[in-house]
């Protein structure tokens, strides 16, 4: 446990040193503030809390932004150390390969945690104070923040898998962009393309639910848009989750698997790697 802490702390310090933490906080805070201010306009006479609106807009944008930030943090976590030769030295210390991966993971996760709590959390505090709108819907907002961290964890884990497979840093960067495109853009595009082409309705409701469930980004989106009544009403998808049979547990389970499987795969590749 102590080793994990030492390794995680180093990653966190690196995050502060190279301004990753600061940059992420600023981006997330600005995003949250701008969206909340813009998003508060259409609440009008409908009985919708401003926080619920913020959850919708932030969840929709986080789906793009958080994977990007997470991948930038993690895509070269291991390959950079192989390339520079620091891994050789690190492995000569009393640390296991498992500890190295988990230590980095905890460190990178902490960077995201700080960015999300300070960025999104700070923005909502400012907003509540400024607009005097009350704290209705804070549970949905808190869940959004927590699930955003989980989404980040998914892409940190996927980034490690890239960083342990590729041989060069440049390849890792390219692969990370490719991975981001597939998970965040192309998958949904193909899914909805298939759905519109599917005139004979070969894709059943169940199959569609499955296809949404296996995608971490879709799981994240549905989780945030459907879990809380206020949010799902405002998003106009009330009852969708219930209809498709996707419970919060199932969605969270999908996200958890997307964290565990890449981490385990990374560890297996790393264990067999010879330096």
């Amino acid at each position: 446990m102590k080793m994990l802490w030492i390794l995680a702390l180093k990653e966190l310090r690196d995050g502060f040193r190279n301004r990753w933490v600061a940059a992420s906080i600023i981006v997330l805070a600005i995003l949250a503030l701008v969206l909340s201010v813009l998003g508060s306009a259409p609440t009008g006479s409908v009985r919708v809390s401003e926080l619920d609106i913020s959850v919708i807009s932030l969840a929709s944008l986080s789906v793009y932004l958080i994977p990007l930030i997470a991948l930038m943090l993690s895509h070269d976590a291991l390959v950079a150390e192989f390339e520079r030769g620091t891994m050789m030295l690190l492995l000569a210390y009393p640390v296991t390969r498992w500890q190295i991966i988990m230590g980095k993971f905890l460190g990178h996760l902490s960077i995201l945690l700080i960015a999300i709590v300070v960025g999104y959390g700070g923005a909502v505090v400012v907003l509540t104070l400024l607009t005097d709108s009350g704290s209705e819907g804070w549970q949905a907002y808190a869940t959004m923040m927590a699930s955003t961290l989980v989404l980040g964890a998914v892409f940190i884990a996927l980034g490690y898998l890239i960083s342990v497979i590729v041989k060069e840093r440049a390849t890792a960067a390219g692969s990370a962009i490719g991975l981001w495109l597939v998970f965040v853009v192309l998958y949904d595009l193909l899914l909805f393309g298939a759905l519109t082409m599917d005139e004979e309705q070969k894709i059943s409701q169940q199959l569609f639910s499955m296809l949404m469930l296996v995608s971490p980004t879709d799981s994240y989106r549905i989780l945030n848009l459907s879990l809380f009544e206020g949010v799902s009403e405002a998003a106009g998808i009330a009852g969708v989750a219930a209809e498709t049979g996707m419970s919060g547990m199932l969605l969270a389970g999908s996200l958890a698997l997307w964290i565990i499987l890449p981490l385990v795969a990374t560890l297996l590749v790393f264990q067999n790697r010879e330096l």
């Binding site: 690196d14 190279n18 520079r84 492995l91 000569a92 210390y93 640390v95 296991t96």
Partner: protein
């Protein structure tokens, strides 16, 4: 300096600290280390000598568990270095890789403290080590701005963390100027005197000649010779050179009187250079002694260490 060969700290009765048995390592079709067997006893300072690509670094990586042998077995401090129990043993080991790399953005002190914590060594020990290797003034600077020599010194400092029982130093003095080199070996000697075992790799035999108890000469992944310096001289069986100073004008007559079987490699008015093998040396010296006043001086020049080295390198695999 104490005579390394009679170092009382070397204990031959206990189990060797490092033990390799018929170890081979190949990457694809390329064999980097081939059938190497060796033991290193506690307290020994062993030097691995060989050209670049001789397999020295791979041998160290095998001992550190960074890579697995294709065949044969490795044991370090009583455990297989690739086993999970070996990780805990890393506490007792220090490693300085060839052309060591650090986290460039961290300062020298931060790097050392990070590694120290992994080994459970206190921060105050780090300050002491920084002082010993002469980096106290540069401790706050980014490692990225360090010169080659400074990196090497930081590398040695991290290898010395926690007073390791076993040190692996891969070409530790490359990039160091002669003054630093001297200082470097003094540091290692200090650890040595405290009972540490060390394995040092080098591509120059002459640089390390006075430092080691034993030498292992490698070529293309094979151990071609090993032993103490004296043993290597004997194994090499290179001719000894005798320089004789004779009374003016008598050089050729002296040569005649020494017999026809002598091997003359140089002759002038007053000097005569002969080369002979070790076994023929004493009879020849006696005959020279019999010449009386004709000979005024005699110098015996054993083969130089680099000659011994190149002899082994040229002879190749025996």
């Amino acid at each position: 300096m104490t005579n390394p060969i009679t170092n009382p700290l070397i204990n031959l009765t206990t189990k060797p600290v490092v033990s390799l048995d018929a170890v081979s390592k190949s990457y694809g079709s390329e064999t980097v280390v081939s059938d190497v067997s060796l033991d290193i006893q506690a307290g020994e300072c062993v030097v691995l000598v060989g050209h670049n690509g001789a397999g020295k670094t791979t041998l160290m990586k095998l001992m550190l568990g960074l890579t697995r042998p294709s065949s044969g077995s490795v044991e370090v401090l009583g455990v297989n270095p690739t086993s999970s129990s070996a990780v805990a043993q890393h506490k007792n080991q220090g490693y300085l890789p060839e052309s060591v790399a650090f986290y460039e953005a961290m300062s020298g002190r931060e790097v050392l403290i990070f590694f120290a914590r992994l080994k459970g060594v206190s921060d105050t020990d780090c300050e002491q080590l920084l002082d010993i290797v002469g980096l106290a003034d540069a401790a706050k600077k980014r490692v990225g701005s360090y010169s080659k020599g400074m990196r090497q010194r930081l590398g040695l400092a991290q290898a010395m963390l926690g007073n390791p029982r076993l040190l692996f130093l891969d070409e530790p003095t490359t990039g160091l100027d002669p003054g630093l080199r001297q200082q470097f070996y003094e540091l290692i000697e200090g650890l040595q005197n405290a009972g540490a075992t060390s394995l040092i790799s080098s591509h120059a035999l002459s640089e390390v000649e006075a430092r080691a108890n034993r030498f292992i000469i490698m070529k293309s992944g094979v151990v071609i010779a090993s032993g103490t310096l004296d043993e290597l001289y004997l194994q090499a069986a290179l001719p000894v050179q005798l320089n004789i100073v004779v009374a003016s004008g008598h050089a050729s007559s002296v040569a005649d009187r020494l017999g026809s079987e002598i091997n003359i490699c140089g002759i002038s008015d007053t000097t005569l250079s002969l080369s002979c093998f070790n076994g023929d040396k004493m009879p020849l010296i006696r005959r020279i002694g019999d010449l009386g006043d004709l000979v005024s001086d005699l110098q015996i020049k054993p083969p130089r260490l680099d000659e011994v080295y190149s002899h082994f390198m040229n002879r190749g695999v025996s």
